[in-house]
Each structure stands twice: as C-alpha cells, then as structure tokens.
C-alpha cells in the first residue's frame, strides 16, 4: 500500500517539478520584463500546487488523518500570485521599461502608466 501511495505522490511531484522548471526556463528565455511575468505567474501555480498536493497525500497517509494546510497554501498562492504580477507590471510601467520592438499596442503604455483611457477612446470623446 505504501508503495502505491508513494508512487502516486512521486508522479505528482515530478509533474509539479516539470512545471516549476518550465517557469524558471521561461524567466531566463523570455526577452522582456512584461513577457517574463507570464512564466512565474502561470507555470509556477500549477507546479507549486503539484508539490503541495504530493505533500498532502504523503502527510495524510503518514498521520492517518487528512492534512489540509497544504490546500491553504495553494489558496493563498492563487490569491497572491496575480497581485504580485500586477505590482511588478505597474513598477515596470512606471520605470518606463521598453518592451521588445514587435510588441503590439505600444501606444497604450503611456496611457496605462498615467491611468487614463486609451488614446483611441480619448479622441472620440
């Protein structure tokens, strides 16, 4: 029985680890700060969730009672990850960090920084 549980936990661990690795690869590979934001907010949520679920399974089996604190960590992560991403994006906008050349809609960066409506809309008003 323990082998069966450990096999499942290991599979989930590997699954989570692969996503964490992809998130880190994304951080180094992607060219500008706005694109880099995507890798840690997305790939990492599933990666961490995988590691935590594996921990939950093993702990529940060892203690013979359901271990739920891992789920709380996952929940907090889902709540905080987008806020962190938003803050980094804001900081990048205010430092006027230029995105790579082929980025579309670059005219929106100025209005986003000033928190005003987009330029096309302002003309219509």
């Amino acid at each position: 029985m323990i082998f069966f549980v450990e096999a499942i936990a290991s599979a989930i661990l590997i699954f989570g680890g692969v996503f964490l690795l992809i998130g880190s690869i994304g951080l180094t590979r992607l060219p500008d700060v706005y694109m880099r934001l995507h890798a840690p907010t997305k790939a990492t949520t599933l990666g961490i969730a995988g590691v935590l679920i594996a921990s939950c399974i093993i702990q529940s089996y060892r203690q013979e009672s359901l271990s739920i604190s891992e789920w709380l960590i996952t929940l907090f992560l889902i709540i905080t990850a987008p806020i962190t991403a938003n803050m980094i994006a804001k900081a990048a906008l205010h430092h006027e960090i230029a995105p790579i050349h082929r980025t579309q809609g670059q005219e929106l960066i100025v209005t986003a920084k000033d928190r005003t409506p987009p330029p096309s809309e302002a003309k219509e008003d």
């Binding site: 992607l30 890798a39 995105p99 409506p117």
Partner: protein
C-alpha cells in the same frame, strides 16, 4: 465616518474564517489552539472592522461556484499553453498590450476580474485606468486583440457581473 455602536461580532463571517484558518494552519484541534483561535477571531475583527468598505453581496451562489471551477480549469489549461509558448520558438511570439473596456462597476468585481485575467491563459493585467473603465492587459502571444477583448468580456466579466449583480 459616524461612530458606530460597539458590536461583539462586527464581522461574523470573518470571525468564522479566521477561526477555521487558524486551526487549519496549525493542523490541530487541541484545547490550546481552540482557545487561541477563539480569542484571535473575536479580537482581530474589533480592530479592523472600521477599515472595511462596502462590498457587494454575492447574488448567485451557484454561478459563483461554477465560476470558481471555470477559473480552476482555465488555470490548468493556462499552465500548459504558457509552458508550450515558453519552450517553443520565441521569435514567433507576438506580445502586445490591450485595453479592455470594463462594464463591471464594483471594486471587488474589478479586482477579481484582474486577478482572473492574470491567472488565465497568456494574459497579465497591468493597470486599471483611474475612472475604472479600462483594464490594461499584457498578452504573451496576441493574435487578434479584438478577439481577446471579446473573450475576456464574455468568459470572465459577464459571469462576474451576474454574480454580484452590478
């Protein structure tokens, strides 16, 4: 702000939430932790209840639950699609900024929408215009900005609007 009458349980829901989360974090039901959880969950709301702002109530609980599952499903598919984009050829990626017009009015609704956008496929919310009518989004791979705007509006904003009834 007008001084309000002292209430023993100013935020009953948060009292309950604090109580359960304290016990869950400690993973125990011992007498000591039960006592600590009770004391903390009663005292903390006294201090913070004056800081809360008016929040819209959830009008449609069943829709809220199905929304949570929709977002969870999208988080998983987001992970796969971003993983593929990250590992694939970077030259082909077409990043871009998009401004999404917002119909939703409540602050909580906008916060939830922005967070959902950040967690779901290929998009991160960057900024909100001061009049709370535009949400600026950065997309990792933008093929058609109109399509993206429509998708955000119909897939996430419409249900959120319905849930909070605003």
């Amino acid at each position: 702000m007008k001084p309000t009458k002292f209430r023993f349980f100013p935020m009953p829901f948060h009292t309950f939430l604090l109580f359960t989360i304290w016990l869950l974090l400690n993973n125990s039901l011992s007498a000591g932790h039960l006592l600590l959880a009770t004391v903390l969950s009663i005292i903390i709301p006294w201090g913070v209840s004056s800081m809360t702002t008016e929040r819209p109530r959830i009008q449609k609980p069943t829709l809220a639950i199905s929304y949570v599952f929709l977002v969870l499903k999208d988080i998983i598919s987001a992970n796969f699609s971003v993983a593929l984009l990250v590992l694939g050829p970077l030259k082909k990626l077409q990043p871009g900024f998009v401004a999404v017009p917002l119909d939703i009015k409540s602050e909580l609704g906008i916060t939830l929408l922005a967070s959902t956008v950040s967690l779901t496929p290929g998009t991160v919310s960057a900024e909100i215009s001061e009049d709370q009518k535009w949400l600026y989004i950065h997309a990792l791979h933008l093929e058609n900005s109109e399509e993206l705007i429509q998708e955000v509006k119909s897939r996430y904003e419409a249900p959120l609007k319905e849930i909070f009834g605003c």
